[in-house]
């Protein structure tokens, strides 16, 4: 009898903490989904920007005696600015339209953004290594060990639950913003057909830069979360990119709601793999699951258009 109870508790705990983990995965991948959905760009440096945002939070906290959450007030706009500048200064020049304008071959148009953002990932990672050194750091906070208890044996981390809510709210707000505001509609139009959008008088470089800024701004929240939940190092970016890419693929390319669903599915798969095959299987289980989806349904489990 007790075995049935513990089997159930194990499973329920796995589902619960997997869902919470999925919330954080969704938060990590919002930026990548925006990039993918609007600019058709796979930003291979995405993970490194998250870590950079987390380092900004840590740097602010060591300089000023403020609450960890207050750092977001500074870091989110800063990351928005970086994203805007990055898109205007670099990424707009390597988009498919730009390479077409330059008369490059379609193959090269596909390769160029991947190669450049891969180089960017190396540069940002190495830059952080020089500035912040290789020591693992974390954003110190009092919430790390508090938990919400449902029963004696069933509980979830307070912090993870909080970030799950944050991810859901952020996705909801972004989707609403895309529907209701002028700029949001412009972003959707540019995503659907950049040429027609430009013909209608839209400043597509600006629109893209706003989307990219939003992508890094949500990345700032995700980086803050990474720093709150665990310790990190300059080189930790690429695994987050792979996870985020997996979430975006599972959720359907560039769909914001799909991010949450994809994150939750990936989180549950990882935690259950960890529960039943040992802690080390968690990462491997996630990678294998992403590869399965890539192979079987590359258009995503919930393929839909962006925010529609």
């Amino acid at each position: 009898m007790i075995d049935v109870y513990w089997t159930f508790i194990d499973f329920a705990n796995g589902i619960l903490s997997g869902t919470m983990l999925g919330g954080s995965y969704a938060l990590i991948s919002i930026g990548l989904a925006l990039n993918f959905g609007v600019m058709r760009l796979v930003n291979l440096s995405h993970g490194d920007w998250l870590i950079l945002a987390a380092y900004f939070c840590v740097a602010l906290l060591t300089a000023l005696p403020i609450s960890p959450f207050a750092t977001l007030v500074v870091v989110v706009p800063v990351m928005f600015g970086i994203g805007y500048a990055l898109q205007r200064g670099l990424l707009n020049h390597i988009s498919i339209q730009a390479t077409e304008r330059k008369g490059m071959s379609p193959v090269f148009a596909i390769m160029l953004p991947l190669l450049v953002t891969f180089g960017l990932s190396i540069v940002v990672g190495q830059g952080m290594l020089i500035v912040f050194s290789a020591d693992a750091v974390t954003i110190k906070n009092d919430l790390s060990f508090s938990a919400i208890r449902f029963t004696e044996d069933l509980s979830i981390s307070m912090l993870r639950f909080g970030f799950f809510i944050v991810a859901a709210v952020l996705i909801g707000c972004l989707a609403a913003w895309m529907r209701l505001t002028h700029v949001g509609r412009a972003i959707r139009a540019a995503a659907d057909d950049p040429e027609v959008a430009a013909l209608m008088g839209m400043q597509t470089p600006h629109i893209y830069a706003v989307a990219s800024g939003l992508s890094l701004a949500s990345g700032a929240v995700a980086g803050f979360m990474i720093g709150m939940l665990r310790s990190f190092q300059p080189y930790d970016g690429p695994p987050f990119l792979l996870t985020a890419f997996g979430v975006v693929i599972i959720g359907g390319l560039g769909s914001l709601g799909g991010c949450l669903a994809g994150g939750i599915i990936l989180g549950i798969v990882q935690v259950l793999a960890g529960t039943y095959f040992g802690a080390a299987a968690q990462q491997m289980g996630g990678y294998l699951f992403i590869l399965v989806v890539l192979a079987v349904r590359p258009q995503g489990l919930f393929a839909r258009r962006m925010a529609s």
Binding site: S105, F108, M111, I122, V123, Q126, F277, L288
Partner: protein, 418 residues
């Protein structure tokens, strides 16, 4: 439709340039003489600069990185499969060689081919579902057979614990599951960013296995008891580089090479023109993996120690991308030039500030933006300017009638070079 296409060059039949612009504006025989002269000089080099000198070591490193560049250039530059997972082959073959040297009494040079075979076998495994000619049933049957064999193996271990080569139930299950899984994954069907990310994921997954495997040092790595001299390594690396370059040159200048660039420029069109896309991709992928494995075997003989972080690091992909991009993607001489640049920059800056990778990253972004065809691109522009003085080079308007003019940056240049 009129498209303005920069740097598109006329494809003429009377033009028969030799080894991919190795000499500027030189005739065919002059180029051959140049190549032979260079080879003789490199063969004689150890006698001139000393068999234990640092300069010789630098030359050997250039050879090894040029081979790695060649391998990647073949799949990315010629076949259009952008892989960020070459470190899977590098690490796997390095560890295979280290394991053979450590656990068997064979000499280092007998163990060396194992590095190539390991990479080749792994690449072959990744190609398996393609070989099955699109029939999913065969893949399913294969997976079922593999799982049955695995269950049989588990049973055998229950009876004779000594039969467990992995020495640990978790690592055994993890790696066998991974192998079966990768055997069923149609990797080569993926394109663009999907292929790039999938190769990267595979490298990470393989690295996870080696991180926890006690037989290979459980994350601490292994030492390679190598009694090879620098002179031996130098000549073997030179021989491997020469043969690799020759094979790729012949490949690209053959009918197969045309099929290769056709696939890169438009896979579907190539398929419908009767190119056996799957077979060509498979050949390229497996060959590229094998020479990557052999080169990394030599590399780890030289550095003596192999650890999972050093063998599976994404820096490998960064190095290789820089080498090929700097030299010129889709050219044969590109990786050679790129490897020289890479070693010069890496060693100079590594000695000066220890920040080689940062500068390499920045340089490769700048190169991609402003000189996407690399050094060989500039050289061949100059050589064409010498030959066709009457032609305006930049901004030549080209008429194209609904047909995509293929690849001024990559493709047609190679057609002129064939």
């Amino acid at each position: 439709m009129i498209t303005r296409i920069r740097n598109i060059l006329p494809i003429t039949l009377e033009e028969k340039p030799g080894a991919a612009g190795a000499g500027i504006g030189l005739g065919r025989y002059a180029k051959i003489a140049l190549i032979i002269g260079l080879l003789v000089a490199l063969i004689a080099a150890p006698a001139a600069i000393g068999t234990r000198s640092y300069a010789l070591h630098i030359l050997m490193s250039i050879f090894l990185f040029a081979i790695l560049g060649h391998a990647w250039n073949l799949i990315a530059g010629f076949a259009g499969m952008l892989s960020f997972g070459q470190q899977a082959f590098i690490g796997l073959s390095g560890f295979a060689q280290a394991l053979v040297i450590y656990y068997t009494p064979v000499s280092v040079w007998t163990a060396w081919p194992v590095s190539g075979i390991a990479a080749l076998a792994f690449a072959w495994l990744l190609c398996l579902p393609i070989k099955a000619r699109g029939s999913r049933r065969r893949v399913v049957v294969g997976v079922i057979l593999a799982v049955l064999a695995w269950i049989g193996y588990e049973g055998l271990i229950n009876i004779f614990p000594g039969a467990d080569l992995f020495q640990g139930a978790y690592v055994r299950r993890e790696s066998l599951l991974l192998l079966i899984f990768l055997g069923a994954l149609p990797l080569l069907k993926l394109r663009g960013a999907y292929f790039a990310i999938a190769t990267w994921l595979i490298a990470e997954a393989v690295s996870t296995v080696f991180n926890g495997w006690s037989v290979s040092g459980a994350g601490g790595g292994m030492q390679i008891k190598s009694e090879v001299t620098q002179l031996q390594l130098y000549y073997v690396a030179l021989a491997l580089l020469t043969s690799t370059t020759a094979v790729i040159w012949m490949w690209v200048h053959s009918y197969q090479g045309l099929a290769l660039t056709a696939i890169r420029d438009d896979e579907d069109a190539a398929q419908s023109s009767g190119v056996d896309v799957d077979r060509v991709k498979m050949l390229v992928f497996i060959y590229s993996a094998a020479i990557t494995g052999l080169a990394s075997g030599l590399y780890f003989m030289d550095v003596v120690i192999i650890t999972p972080p050093s063998a599976f690091t994404i820096s490998w992909a960064a190095y290789i991308v820089f080498i090929v991009v700097a030299g010129g993607m889709g050219t044969i001489a590109g990786p050679l030039v790129g490897a020289v640049l890479f070693i010069v920059i890496e060693r100079l800056l590594g000695a000066a500030a220890g920040q080689g990778l940062l500068v390499l990253g920045i340089l490769s972004i700048v190169l991609m933006l402003f000189l996407p065809r690399g050094v060989m691109g500039i050289l061949s522009d100059i050589s064409h300017r010498c030959r066709h003085r009457h032609l305006p080079l930049a901004d030549t308007p080209v008429l194209s009638f609904g047909v995509e003019l293929s690849a001024p940056e990559l493709g047609s240049r190679n057609l002129t070079e064939i």
